[in-house]
Symmetry: C2
Subunit: 338 residues, 2 copies
Amino acid sequence: MTTIKDIARVAGVSVTTVSRALNGYGDVNENTRQKIIQVSKDLNYSPNTLARGLVMNKSRTIGLLVSGMNRQNAKDQFTFEVLSGINEYASEQDYDLILFSTNSTKQREKTYSQLCKERRVDGVILSGIKTDDPYLQEVVESDIPCILIDIPMKSDTVGYVTTDNVLGASTAVNHLIGLGHRNIAMVNGHDQAFVSPQRLQGYKEALETRHLPFRPEWVVNGAYDEETARQEAEKLLARYPEITAVFCASDLMALGVLKAAVSLGRRVPEQLSVVGYDDILLASYSNPPLTTISQNKFQLGYEAATMLIHMLEGSREPHEMYLDTQLVIRRSTSENHN
Amino acid sequence: MTTIKDIARVAGVSVTTVSRALNGYGDVNENTRQKIIQVSKDLNYSPNTLARGLVMNKSRTIGLLVSGMNRQNAKDQFTFEVLSGINEYASEQDYDLILFSTNSTKQREKTYSQLCKERRVDGVILSGIKTDDPYLQEVVESDIPCILIDIPMKSDTVGYVTTDNVLGASTAVNHLIGLGHRNIAMVNGHDQAFVSPQRLQGYKEALETRHLPFRPEWVVNGAYDEETARQEAEKLLARYPEITAVFCASDLMALGVLKAAVSLGRRVPEQLSVVGYDDILLASYSNPPLTTISQNKFQLGYEAATMLIHMLEGSREPHEMYLDTQLVIRRSTSENHN
DNA sequence: CTGAAAGCGCTAACAT
DNA sequence: ATGTTAGCGCTTTCAG
């Protein structure tokens, strides 16, 4: 494997000069530079980023700490789309991505900062982390630059990008109210997601604004899981047949509610309106296609990468960003005729 | 940041001893080891993998060269599931994954081996690479250990994991023939995928075995794209109304055919049977749900990682593996009544 | 069982 | 404009 030493020898200069020439410093004779570049091509040289990283104490690498990269969770490719967005900007900026996965079967006993310190990543992006995840604690305490996706926490080294989940949820519920629904239930996700209480909040606010009563017993926990949501919705709808619409905190759960409706013999949207959240791919293919709150997952990742890299390069801008969401009306909602 | 030097100082030993103690060598006094371990904990030490990689010339890192990690392609999350599988085994074995993306907007002028050499990855897994991709050439020539997904190429340092695509395709077509179909068309993908000619081959073989004529004009190119497939299928079916079944080289294209059937007013499966390939998530949610050839994408990745890591650790087993596929019968196929 | 010393490939003062 | 030297944090002979 060729090193700058080899180049130096062949080109008849010192390693310093080689290093400077190759890194585009100005204080190198143009002829020397050309010669060095030629030699390095002849010798098929590639720089050793490990060595460079060691001395510069900078690896041009971003760590990705994602949970939800496993067999089951592949269903909502939320993570994947975020990843694609991150990758897009990172590769534009010549940063590499290194994947840490928290879902290792033999549960990794390593701490968050160990993971990062070992690999000498310059910064980290966290996605899909639960609020009770020990890693989250560490982030705030550690001084490693970090961007959180969908968890609004801030410090000197921590930023986030997310959407306004209260607004998103209230938009969804307002849509239902606008269609004449008065008895609107909610299937929320588990409490370990930051967005859950916020979406609940949005649901409440929308009801309140229209002077509709909030009925706690109409809010069930679907754990962001299709099957759990189906079961919970089945119980709920059987018990309170007066419910004419359901707002779900995720599309996956909305899919579960759709199944519950089938098994209860209630046609969607004629006899039951359903709204999801996320606008995952499946949402437009389900039967009927889901009305939902759309998030631009790719952009979420893209912006997170942008923010992190700016941060790494010394920007002092505020490290927070809210992206817009959008109500996408498909065929799982219609006017209430009761 | 703590280094072994710090530990050595505090523990009152040499760096050599610290290194040996921490790496579990036998020739260290157990008391000394305990002391060193204690100190390293107190000092919150993490090893610097860059330094280690530099001296050992080994990074315990696997490069991932995937194409198809972009906005559009997110649809079939083939890549993502493969990735999950790779990640699973790699993290079990304490290897880290580094993501190279070939779809960078400013097209990366770096060569494959440059990418790998720079980052000093121990080995690489390639997925979603087209046969005319320049990277592929390089792989075979370079001496970097490498596993290909779905491209059967072998050398001392190159292995692959794939499925039997001829068999898969013929199984699909035989299913149609078994349902009484005689006029079976095929929507194939572009020729830049290794699997395309193989699936075509399987289609031909199945026809031949049952003494059905092969009609080249009934094979169209859907480019592995839903919309292209829809258009091509529409033309094909309009022109040859006698076709009663279509075999597609991917589910995504099958979805396109489903749309074509709708716009031509042909009910699936009553008036047209459709078979896909891959068994992507969408396949079970489409309307009607797709009959398809299922590939275990997660396992594809898992086995690729296994094979690569074994290779890296010196195994001399053959570096090739064929996984089984499975016919999944859903509701897009039925008996032919013509 | 332990330590001194060399060196992986690179960059960065500090000369010259 | 170029070379000398030191050193990033680690592993690994080689001696003791």
